[in-house]
Symmetry: C2
Amino acid sequence: MIDNHDLVFAIAERAKQYLLDPPSGEDPVVDLASPDELIAAFDSTVGLALAADGSEPNHDNAELLAAIDLVVRHSMHTSHPRFVNQNFAGPDPVAVAGDWLGAALNTTGATFEVAPVFTLMEAAVIDRLARLAGYVSTDSELLPALPSGLFCPGGSVGTLFGLQLARHRHDRDITTRGPSGERLTVFVSASGHYAATKSAALMGIGTDNVVKVPCHFDGSIDVAELAEAIRQCMTTGGTPLAVIATSGTTVTSAFDDLHGVADVCKQHGIWMHVDGCYGGSSLFSPAQAHRLSGVERSDSFVWNLHKMMGMTQQCTALLVKQPEQLAACFATRADYLFQPDKQFAEYDSGDRTFQCARRIDVLKAWLAWKTHGDEGFAARIDHAVAMGTHTRHAIAARGDRFVTVVDGDFTNVVFVWVPPELRPLSTTDPAALPIDKRDALHLLPPAIKARMQRDGTAMIGFQPVHGMNTFRMICMNSTLRASDIDAILDAIERYGADAVGGSAESMGSTPDSSLPPQR
Amino acid sequence: MIDNHDLVFAIAERAKQYLLDPPSGEDPVVDLASPDELIAAFDSTVGLALAADGSEPNHDNAELLAAIDLVVRHSMHTSHPRFVNQNFAGPDPVAVAGDWLGAALNTTGATFEVAPVFTLMEAAVIDRLARLAGYVSTDSELLPALPSGLFCPGGSVGTLFGLQLARHRHDRDITTRGPSGERLTVFVSASGHYAATKSAALMGIGTDNVVKVPCHFDGSIDVAELAEAIRQCMTTGGTPLAVIATSGTTVTSAFDDLHGVADVCKQHGIWMHVDGCYGGSSLFSPAQAHRLSGVERSDSFVWNLHKMMGMTQQCTALLVKQPEQLAACFATRADYLFQPDKQFAEYDSGDRTFQCARRIDVLKAWLAWKTHGDEGFAARIDHAVAMGTHTRHAIAARGDRFVTVVDGDFTNVVFVWVPPELRPLSTTDPAALPIDKRDALHLLPPAIKARMQRDGTAMIGFQPVHGMNTFRMICMNSTLRASDIDAILDAIERYGADAVGGSAESMGSTPDSSLPPQR
């Protein structure tokens, strides 16, 4: 019998119970507690801190299980349908089961020797993703020994590796000799992810050499501005290294015009990297795939299956058009691990990337795909977009009590609740609002959200858009239903009224949902 | 009820069964199959590949479970006591249970808002690790809002971040403006991990600017050679940026003299990074902690709890002496995520690193520590070292049939089996052997290992050391017992005899273990 059998059994049962019957409906999305309150709560079990003097005891099972119950109680219930706070949510339970099995088998993806099945699964999933992206178009159904990419720990890391591949193609001597004297420059839209900036810092390119290209109002890149920015870079002695196009921006879920970007990149021979961390999964849906038209012309493409597809953290595919570049760029041929005289060494993937040990992120994705099939994956995307559409309609139906700042046509809706004294707003562009109105609106989302968190009613994010705090409804949570959206909007009205010192009814709200009041 | 309830339940049960009763004893460590054989096996269930034309069906549960059974059958059983192939092995079942719960709760470590408990747990574990390393010495038991580091996905990434912190301290303008014109140089021992080289490539420093400092025969750095290498760098116009000291090298588990390295670094104001990915866990044992004496003088320290401590992949702590450096070096203050007007925003850890979303790696470590206590953690290290000692004794007891090439005094033993015609070997230094003898010995470990894999008897790694293939027994697997070591040595003798065309008995072997023959 293994050590700690009873404890392990009990925790596994709790995890399974949570997985099979997660919080939903009127259950709270969060049981909010401050750091001090959490520390106090754990002090009644095993404590959060570890004894500073090395005297931490081995606690008994009852205490440990009480602590585990506190962990569950006070953690964010991302599986709850009313968790629309981020671009990930509760996981697909099938993926969780795959993740669990992978954890129990505990190996790494570096070599075929210790990961025979997972090496082939990674080839299978990467190959199919690469076909969806138009990177691979042969008829062969054989699993390639050299797949068109690999998994890596998160989208930022994927973008980092994409840019390193770009620099290696541009001048492989930089990899060996160091800086060449050129001022390498990376272009990304002003709405693009900060991974561009962080990568430029880490790669020694310098954050000043990341050009934030102006966007259209919806958050998609202005291709004419991109072309102009590249022209300016070259006339001032810079070297355009890469353009990062975004498919599904973080705030407004906008999609850059990939053909437009590809045309510009082709003209100047610039590496095109697509950050499809959020929106790349549109490729699973025949109805939505058009949003990534042109991705097949890019050189690298990063795609987070832990966002729209509900894999557990993390499940990121980095796809590359020329897979042989990976080893050329990253390999160091360590002879203690990638022994050429080892059986099946040609399948080893570990030297084609930066990491040595890699957690097995593919099993859950492969299992979910085999379980749901292509149609199931498509349905997941289509449901998310349908919920976005419902949100836009539901907000419009509430008249001047709500204003969409950026409505878009995908899964994200950016909006504000308007208190009675500011109705009707003269414009939906924050920049065009009188400053006193904009300042008043700016303060409301944090105040409303704090009340929602206190009651555990829902979790929805806010952030400045065009200079003013706005709510962001992200409709990627697969358990989200129209009734949940209505209930969240009701709650915003109710807490908004409370925040400005009135009642929702006195402010013209007629709840559109038939749900009972939130706790 | 969740979708796919029955399938999820069944897979979770299989994972739990595997966790609670993993393969052991005479069970095979691996059921070896070639890529073609694996593909054929899966073809009888759901297939490994995904339909290239988008027609992958949603398979039925029976087929899916048959595939899951194949996954388990053909995966490496790293929990088996006779898996001594790598510097990780089967996980602590308590850690697996924690990992499972974290996966079910699926959130990210970036913000307190969505990870309230885990943010505080990370502070607790990092703080305690930092105290073990001598980075923190206050009496306060309060959880710091700014802990002395954070978790990151693997040791290579930790070293990358450590070197970026070094460059940022040296010249923060490089982070913003890009290359300064200086030839920055990184020093690491010739036995150090390839993360140094890969980091230099990725950071734009250049692999030519990584100086591999000569080692003593055991694999530890020669500090006099380090001082000379730094002097040479400076006299040729280079700028020493950082020294990476290794605490537990990959092959021989050697420990660099940290005080010696620290003295050199102090003299020149050079950043000292300690790669304690493998051996850092010695700090848990009062009997072994001396090996890292001097680590308290370093600036950054990376420590993989997924190696000796048996956490699941991955669980890497990056510790930094000056924690405020993290935000200074990495932050970009994205206002959609790190809103300053959000509750408890001062606890957000996400902008203190490169990654955005981070998997919750701390829960399993915290849970294991609270379960086993400081004494349990110490016992794990002491057991591993005791098994290393047993290996050395067992090899010595077998006379001239085995030779230790590097015996060391920690968990790794590097050795060869010597066929009768080469006994006794005149020297244990491969470089001093006649070339024909060395070549003959070099071919044996792959031949022996292939036979072991075929039979699933054990998994032990080989690699060139001083120019000749040698076996590496890594005694970190917590389920490893003396009888397993004896059985593995018996098997090497048996397969060695087979490889050179005789029987073990005819070659002088008298099996030291009373175990029955391997399957």
